[in-house]
């Protein structure tokens, strides 16, 4: 098996997207231990001073180091996107497989709730919840997890419906196995691959969703900043240091594009 795998040529988009994602993951880890400058400290008296040696991406609207804040923001942005997607999958996979296996009343109720969630524009749901509860990292993660779990539920339920007629599932049920074992022990291992693909695409949606909330000023609150927040707070300095606003926006685009390309490449792989 390993010989076959090693002989297969990797597609350039797969290599490109994996490289970008690994690079950002490394930056996120490094930002925990070392940053070029203190992301909350002032390195320049001038707001939006252009890049010089040592301050490689210039200063932001308060005269802080853009590069350090960008690296710090990498960790915040990726942490939020990953936890929201993970939670969405935890909720969506469990309930989706449960709805498929149980059927009947449980399935009907869960499916109708999901219909309603999917029929609402996500960004508007986000704005309403922020209006009600105020904005914090945990509220934003919670909103993203709930709105995206509906789509995950649909996929997990469809996968579960295909599986539940399989002999080994029927056998497990007639053996009297508990529901938890049937869902996670018997079913989950067979649907890990499509769910993992969904995870990647869902994470790209989550990053765009949460950055948009931060960008309109209703996500992560200052002085902490994710990429969306940085892109917003530095909009005023486009004439002297455009990197302060464009840099974080490009970072979001890169991660989102890489995730989409990864899924495209994996899908193409699965088809051949």
């Amino acid at each position: 098996m390993s010989r076959v795998a090693s002989r297969r040529r990797l597609s350039p988009t797969l290599v490109f997207s994996a490289a970008i994602l690994i690079a950002f993951a490394l930056i996120a880890v490094v930002s925990l231990f070392a940053l070029p400058q203190d992301p909350f400290d002032f390195v320049s008296d001038e707001p939006f001073s252009p890049p010089v040696a040592g301050i490689w991406l210039g200063a932001d609207y308060l005269g802080r180091d853009v590069l350090s804040r960008l690296m710090d923001g990498t960790r915040i942005t990726l942490f939020m996107a990953l936890s929201a997607t993970l939670l969405a999958h935890l909720i969506g996979d469990t309930l989706g497989l449960l709805a498929a296996t149980r059927g009947g009343f449980v399935d009907a109720v869960l499916s109708r709730i999901v219909d309603v969630v999917l029929a609402l524009p996500k960004i508007i749901v986000g704005l309403v919840v922020v209006a009600a509860l105020g904005s914090s990292v945990s509220v934003i993660i919670g909103i993203a997890a709930v709105v995206y779990s509906a789509g995950v539920f649909r996929i997990a339920r469809a996968l579960g419906n295909d599986l539940k007629e399989m002999d080994y599932i029927k056998l497990a049920r007639s053996r009297g196995e508990g529901m938890a074992w049937i869902l996670f022990g018997e079913m989950l291992p067979h649907v890990v691959k499509p769910l993992a693909t969904d995870f990647a695409i869902r994470a790209s949606f989550a990053i765009l969703f949460m950055s948009s909330l931060s960008f309109v000023g209703l996500g992560v609150q200052p002085p902490m900043a994710d990429w969306g927040g940085m892109a917003r707070e530095n909009l005023g300095g486009l004439s002297t240091n455009p990197l302060a606003a464009v840099g974080p926006a490009i970072a979001i685009a890169l991660v989102s594009i890489a995730l989409n390309m990864l899924v495209d490449a994996l899908d193409g792989d699965a088809r051949h």
């Binding site: 999917l118 029929a119 609402l120 309403v128 950055s211 685009a253 495209d264």
Partner: protein, 320 residues
């Protein structure tokens, strides 16, 4: 057909009713004491009590909900907590501005996207198709605010041709309005076009693998005719559906674009109201956005059905 439409209309009305319950719950029950929220944490207990009575918060929630719903259906959304003026007065101009932005974007993006998707399908598999596919994929995954920021940087900051802020006033002439709308529309058009073109390409690509297309090619029908005559005819339904669903993507794009350009639209009003926790205005804006979105999904379902009676109702894209 009539039966299908009546049934979907009923489901949509039920959905709107549930949405109204959720919006009311989120804005009036979830925050706890709305009077406290409106006055801030330094308000005296007497002030809070007076406002509670003024706002009718001492009445049971069900009664408040019914009053709100009856008012909303008649276009009376209550009074703003910040300006104290009727919410409906704030809305009308904002709704018109947002409808203008969304309308122009749709008019430009839809024909452009379908043309692009069809051309890419004609180049099926060639280097040009693959190149365009990657560009379209990248653009559809790019946040609106990156495109908008780059456009502002280029056309407003560096070249100075266009205003970075889209002021609209009733006095401004057509030329001025067009200049103000140019950059916001361009940012939205790029994203929406990329989304629709990508799906159009995928739909046509699927159809082109079918047996009757192979038959046509084997018969010697030229490639251009195969796409235009044979494939496109069956793609009209799914594409119409994609278009209706994609205008729903516009909602999130509009929220971002109105922020960057300080465009006086409904989304900007909603964001400002969320920031100042002006809950009656938030409620009204949320209901208008959700109702528009739900109606677009209804339109998508009906269109898919009209063009292809075999089709089951499609679900909305659950991306944004």
């Amino acid at each position: 057909m009539a039966h299908f439409i009546a049934w979907r209309l009923l489901a949509t009305l039920l959905l709107l009713f549930i949405v109204s319950l959720l919006v009311f719950w989120a804005c009036e029950i979830l925050p706890g004491d709305v009077a406290q929220v409106a006055l801030g944490q330094y308000a005296t207990p007497e002030n809070v009590k007076a406002l509670r009575i003024e706002m009718g918060l001492n009445q049971p929630p069900l009664q408040r909900y019914l009053q709100w719903l009856v008012g909303a259906v008649q276009g009376d959304w209550g009074r703003s907590l910040v300006t104290k003026s009727p919410v409906s007065g704030l809305l009308s101009e904002r709704v018109a501005n947002t409808a203008l932005l969304a309308g122009i974007t749709t008019l430009i993006a839809v024909p452009l996207a379908i043309a692009l998707g069809v051309v890419m399908a004609m180049w099926n598999g060639r280097a040009l198709d693959r190149g365009a596919s990657i560009v379209i994929l990248a653009l559809s995954a790019t946040p609106e605010f990156l495109l908008a920021t780059l456009l502002v940087l280029l056309f407003a900051v560096n070249l100075g041709w266009l205003p970075a802020v889209a002021y609209l006033s009733t006095g401004s002439g057509l030329g001025q309005t067009a200049r103000a709308l140019l950059l916001p529309t361009a940012s939205l058009v790029v994203v929406v076009t990329a989304q629709i073109a990508r799906m159009t390409r995928a739909i046509l690509g699927n159809i082109l693998t079918q047996a009757y297309i192979e038959m046509a090619i084997l018969k010697g029908v030229p490639g251009r005719r195969v796409v235009a005559r044979h494939a496109l005819r069956n793609a009209v339904g799914p594409i119409a559906n994609v278009v209706a669903l994609n205008t729903a993507y516009l909602v999130s794009g509009i929220v971002v674009v109105e922020t960057i350009f300080a465009y006086p639209g409904l989304a900007r009003l909603m964001i400002d109201s969320v920031q100042s926790r002006d809950l009656p205005v938030v409620q009204a804006c949320a209901m208008i956005f959700c109702a528009t979105y739900v109606l677009l999904i209804l339109l998508a379902d009906v269109m898919a059905r009209v063009f292809d009676p075999r089709s089951l109702p499609q679900r909305p894209m659950d991306a944004i």
